[in-house]
Symmetry: C2
Subunit: 119 residues, 2 copies
């Protein structure tokens, strides 16, 4: 059985495979304070979070845009569960492609937030 | 003597101080293949290189733009030496602000280049 049962599901969101992920795209995705904040939170909780969990100081459409950039760059995985769109960090893929990068980025973001008094 | 002898030099290029460097700006600067290539080369040679050293497949004005983005984000230092504009990686500043980040970024860029057969 190799049938992709989800292939025709209109709620299936497009993701790059691990091989399709590019460093350029990952860095672009993380070069934004809102998106970095989302990633830091996903890394901290180590579980899926719904989009509505994040109370970002931007409009809903901007929030949707940020999640799409993160998904299309391969940083997060988005799946529908019932009526909620759930988000998870693609840590295994990122760690396999770029060992140590995600952790050093998260550490850099944390120390910068502390330095600027915006923890 | 606290006189800044270079303050009135029109060839003095503006740089952020270490404290003014922001992760967002560094990641944006590195989220471009040409700029990442410049940084990889500067990291490899561990010395200053002139702009003209880099034979990038883009116009001269685009090259100048890329160097400016790298300088203004705090990734490189640019100084005039005679008629040449020399470029050096601000490794000490980046390592102090974001320990391990530059090395993991360089390793990620190297492994991606190998993976894509574009070493």
């Amino acid at each position: 059985m190799t049938t992709e049962t989800t292939a025709t599901n209109p709620r299936e969101l497009a993701h790059p495979t691990r091989d399709e992920i590019r460093l350029e795209g990952v860095l672009h995705a993380l070069a934004d304070p809102m998106r970095l904040r989302i990633v830091r939170e996903l890394a901290a909780v180590r579980e899926e979070l719904s989009c509505s969990h994040f109370a970002l100081p931007v409009t809903k459409s901007t929030t949707t845009h940020h999640f799409r950039v993160l998904r299309e760059s391969g940083v997060i995985e988005q799946v529908y569960r019932g009526t909620a769109k759930m988000n998870g960090l693609r840590r295994a893929d990122l760690d396999a492609l770029y060992p140590g990068l995600l952790d050093s980025l998260l550490a850099a973001a944390r120390s910068e937030a502390e330095r600027l008094g915006a923890v």
